[in-house]
């Protein structure tokens, strides 16, 4: 056999292995075509034509450049992702927006609206049935809570079919969920009342009233639930004044303990419990972590993702550059800085997904987008459209839920 024959065979093999195109491919093509046309007309009409063209062109360029990085398309004038965002094995498996609904005089409830990634179509789909969603590793199953919180049962939702495969009845009021790294356990945080209860704060200047989370917390314990058989023990704990209204537990990097946020002298403080209801000191590797930097420890366990440490002013027109700290988890000493204002998830031992600002440092407000950052490189790869987390309409201030595939 010569090289030509081998090339022929290899190509035939590779072609033969391909699964057919997903059903609905034609509709997907037509939908993308419609969107592109709308954009094209809009960009001709708008005075900011150049800006629009750039923001549209970037994702295409990127998706052609790196094989494992998939930015999302965004809908017309909005920034909500439409197609899957992923890099390496890390995927935005869902995202949610939050809106506070008035529930009584001076009271309200902050409610999340989720959009879940359908693994078969690679698109996000709105699913209003759930008040809380945690996605299992693999991004094919999610644990869900129904609309009214605290809930009395946990559902295991098949993300492809959109159907709940199994319900686990739990008498305690459930407010939050989080999977272990290995996907076999769930930590269920329980509350006496809805942890998303808000109170209206009068605006002294006569403007629109704001909302503030209720204090103190009604958190009363947690449960480690076996995902396979639904068994688990509930541990009652006392929650002091330093625990905020919603303070859900999540597993530590080694799945041997759980942590939750506390409010204290500094931002980002955490408390730790073992898996049987006992408060413990922070594990050696997690002593310096902050709850508001969700990326935490790198897959190889050697690097800790920490907070924003530097911002560089690039002038009036260019977006400012943010840098976050990468530290030695055991000593807390900074090893290097990496681009990104908030490090959200590790992709591998060198790359992370982060929020990074899209606005100049001064007098331009704050807007951001999801980007891929690499340790040792100043380059960022945009993964999503722009978002206005503070002042924009709440329906557009989305928050990603990450999972590993």
């Amino acid at each position: 056999m010569n090289v030509e024959e081998l090339v022929r065979d290899s190509l035939r093999d590779l072609a033969g292995e391909q699964e057919p195109a997903a059903p609905g491919f034609a509709d997907r093509v037509l939908a993308v075509r419609r969107r592109r046309r709308t954009r094209r007309f809009a960009s001709v009409a708008a005075a900011t034509a150049a800006v629009v063209a750039v923001s549209v062109a970037v994702p295409q360029l990127v998706s052609g450049g790196r094989d494992d990085v998939r930015p999302s398309e965004v809908t017309g004038g909005q920034s909500l992702p439409v197609t899957a965002i992923s890099a390496g094995r890390t995927v935005v498996a869902a995202y949610y927006t939050t809106k506070t609904r008035k529930s009584g005089k001076g009271e309200g409830v902050a409610e999340r609206t989720y959009r879940l990634l359908d693994p078969s179509t690679g698109r996000y789909k709105k699913d209003t049935r759930w008040s809380y969603v945690a996605v299992a590793p693999g991004a094919k199953t999610a644990a869900v809570l129904e609309r009214t919180l605290p809930a009395s049962r946990v559902g295991l939702l098949d993300l492809t079919t959109g159907k709940v495969r199994k319900w686990y009845e739990i008498r305690m009021g459930i407010g939050g969920l989080s999977f272990s790294r290995d996907g076999t356990k769930l930590v269920v945080t329980t509350y006496d009342e809805n942890p998303d209860r808000m109170f209206e704060v009068k605006n002294a200047d006569g403007g629109v009233n704001g909302w503030m989370a209720g204090r103190p917390t009604s958190r009363n314990g947690y449960m480690i639930l076996d995902v396979e058989d639904g068994n688990g023990a509930w541990w009652q704990i006392k929650s002091g004044r330093d625990v905020p209204s919603r303070a859900d537990f999540a597993f530590t990097g080694d799945d041997k303990a759980v942590y939750a946020r506390i409010v204290g002298g500094q931002d980002g403080m955490e408390e730790f419990y073992d898996l049987s209801g006992k408060k413990i000191t922070a594990p050696a590797k997690e002593k310096y972590l902050r709850w508001d930097v969700p990326a935490r420890i790198s897959p190889n366990g050697e690097l800790a993702a920490l907070g924003l440490t530097k911002e560089v002013n690039m002038g009036k027109k260019l977006p400012g550059k943010s840098y976050s700290s990468i530290r030695n988890p055991l000593t807390g000493k900074e090893i290097t800085k990496v681009r990104g204002g908030q490090l959200l998830a590790w992709v591998d031992d060198h790359r992370l997904i982060a929020w990074e600002r899209t606005t100049p440092l001064k007098n331009a407000g704050y807007k951001d987008r999801l980007v891929l950052v690499t340790i040792g490189s100043d380059k960022i790869v945009p993964l999503s459209g722009e978002r206005d987390p503070d002042d924009g309409p709440q329906r557009l201030a989305w928050e990603p839920v990450f999972a590993e595939r």
Partner: protein
């Protein structure tokens, strides 16, 4: 695009997208995601002039191939697939099996430039004569010939195991199907 054209477009995609996707996967060096993007772009272009196209499949294929070439012309970042193991690092032992050689071959194919890969796909997957390849890609027969030659030479460099293939003493083997994820 009116309703009738949309229906015929849908029907075409439903019947032919899987076959077209295979070609797109080969053109993108085995990366399914890139392949879907490639095919999607080609279909969008075809949809724009659907009622004027006589042979949709040939038209879409031509766009697929030319897209690859134009990307190269525009000096876009090289669309190479990163593979877990660099083929250069593998050494050909006496016992290197047919399956292993194919694995190496795939890694090497993924590392060619889009233009090189496109020419090989046209020549050896579609089995087209050089003149047809030249017509599709809009270049001369000489260019097709030299690109083919250079692509094969590069494959040999990327995968030294292939050198052994031309050795006459090598016995022929049965090629068992192997499941490989590129």
């Amino acid at each position: 695009m009116d309703a009738e054209a949309q229906d015929s477009f849908r029907e075409f995609v439903e019947h032919r997208s899987s076959a077209l996707l295979k070609t797109a996967v080969l053109l993108s060096g085995g990366d399914r995601h890139t392949a879907e993007d490639l095919l999607q772009n080609a279909l969008i272009k075809a949809a724009g002039r659907w009622h004027r196209i006589d042979e949709p499949e040939a038209y879409v294929r031509q766009i697929l191939y030319r897209q690859q070439i134009s990307r190269w012309r525009l000096k876009w970042p090289r669309r190479e697939l990163s593979v877990a193991e660099p083929p250069e690092g593998r050494t050909a032992g006496d016992d290197s099996s047919a399956a292993e050689v194919r694995l190496v071959m795939r890694g090497a194919l993924a590392r060619l430039t889009a233009r090189q890969r496109t020419v090989l796909v046209l020549r050896y997957f579609e089995d087209l004569p050089e003149a047809d390849v030249a017509r599709i890609l809009g270049c001369s027969v000489g260019t097709v010939r030299s690109t083919t030659h250079r692509s094969l030479a590069r494959l040999r460099t990327l995968a030294p195991e292939l050198a052994a293939l031309n050795a006459p003493s090598r016995p022929s083997r049965d090629y068992a199907p192997v499941e490989v994820r590129p």
